[in-house]
């Protein structure tokens, strides 16, 4: 089949899209795994941060400061290229993770997104009306009960829009794993461009694929947001 297009090589587009889509599994896998692990890390960091104990708060703040203050690419390089320099890493039981680019990518993305998400969650917790927690305290709920039944459900609703943005930036960050030899969609696109030297056709088609992914993430969170705030809507 041959298509005649004036400006672009349409055959190449038709050929390269299925090739690039072979990498979508890796992209989604990286996104999903590091999002779940990152959220877990973020919750731990959040609990440490709001604990009010300085020996828990200080390390969390340093951690967030470092991971939000340096480029994710540098973090990926430190973990993938840098850690093998250290003997104790190579001798540790975690070495099988750090030996593989995939493990390094998951670790880097998790540590990075964890720092950002914990700040988002903190924003949500701080946004909860004090009157509600005071009322819960007056009703005799313990600190733990107040957090689980009062603060958390409201905070989740408050930080969902910001969180969905962070999932989108995480999805965009997964493209960086192509710099550490992983063949995600971007990695495959770069190989195709290196062979065909047709950057417009390949990269622009890939941009559309990423745009669709972004749209899917936005829509999914939109549905969840709508469902979580249905009690507000019914009043209107």
């Amino acid at each position: 089949m041959s298509l005649n297009c004036p400006l672009f090589d349409c055959d190449l587009i038709v050929e390269s899209i299925p090739k690039m889509l072979e990498g979508i599994g890796l992209t989604i896998e990286l996104l999903f795994e590091s999002a779940v692990l990152g959220l877990t890390l973020a919750i731990i960091l959040l609990l440490m941060r709001i604990s009010g104990r300085w020996y828990l708060v200080a390390p969390t703040m340093v951690y967030i400061y470092i991971f939000r203050g340096t480029p994710i690419l540098v973090q990926i390089f430190i973990i993938y290229h840098g850690l093998p320099q250290l003997d104790f890493v190579r001798e540790s039981i975690l070495w099988p993770i750090f030996r593989e680019p995939y493990g390094c990518a998951i670790v880097a993305l998790t540590l990075n997104t964890g720092a950002y998400v914990s700040e988002i969650l903190r924003g949500g917790v701080l946004g909860v009306n004090r009157g509600l927690t005071e009322a819960a305290a007056a009703l005799g709920l313990s600190v733990r009960q107040r957090f689980i039944y009062i603060t958390a459900p409201i905070a989740i609703r408050l930080c969902l829009p910001a969180y969905s943005n962070d999932v989108i930036s995480l999805m965009k960050s997964t493209a960086l794993v192509s710099t550490i030899t992983l063949l995600d969609m971007t990695g495959i696109a770069r190989t195709i461009v290196a062979e065909t030297y047709a950057p417009y056709e390949v990269f622009i088609s890939l941009m559309f694929i990423y745009l669709i992914l972004t749209w899917v993430i936005q829509r999914t969170f939109g549905v969840v947001e709508k469902r979580l705030s249905r009690h507000v809507r019914s009043e209107v």
Partner: protein, 231 residues
Amino acid sequence: MEAVTGWWDDFFWGSLVVVELFIVAIFLTVLFGLIGAGAKLSGNPVAKSIANAYTIVFRGTPEILVLLLFYFGSAVALTAIAQVFDPEIKFVDIPPFWAGSLAIALIVGSYATETFRGAFLGVDPGQVEAARALGLSNLKTFMYVRIPAMWRLALPPFGNHMLSLIKDTALIAVIGLEETLFVAEQAIGTTGKPFTMYIVVGGIYLGFSTIITLSVMVLEKYANKHLEVAR
């Protein structure tokens, strides 16, 4: 750390490239942001849909992809044009510095578009009407009323955009610009100490982020100083 000894001057020059990139890109970011916000707020449907497409595309695709497209795309186009004049030419490219700063400025500019749009909408319409009533021209209203009122609102999110911008400069090493990451790669080639070198790069970026965060704090204080008296 002694492995770094001979490399400090290279890291210094690399950092200087980051600073240059940042200055060029921040200027372009503000420009793209203002144009984008202007287009979105204008009544013109064509300008509006172009601006919408701009923010959707540049906010929804990975930064590195935009960068690769700009660098290799421009190289292919320029090479093709150059070959018309001289078939001997094999490869012409835009210097990575310019391709890179343009690409990251377009990306961060798309975020700035939304920020500026929101900030312009946040300006009290009464102030603009008052300026009109005083007979100020459109340009003067824009320069003396809208801009001073909107930049206070735009400053906190714009500080975050500056932080993303400085961190995005690291990506430009991928297309071969001699900035800090590139220096680190060379240093690793000779010393074989990747951890040390990349930690140095991380430290440099952490320094830049700290400077930006502190500057934004000072600027915010300056922007809101008229409010302090009231307290």
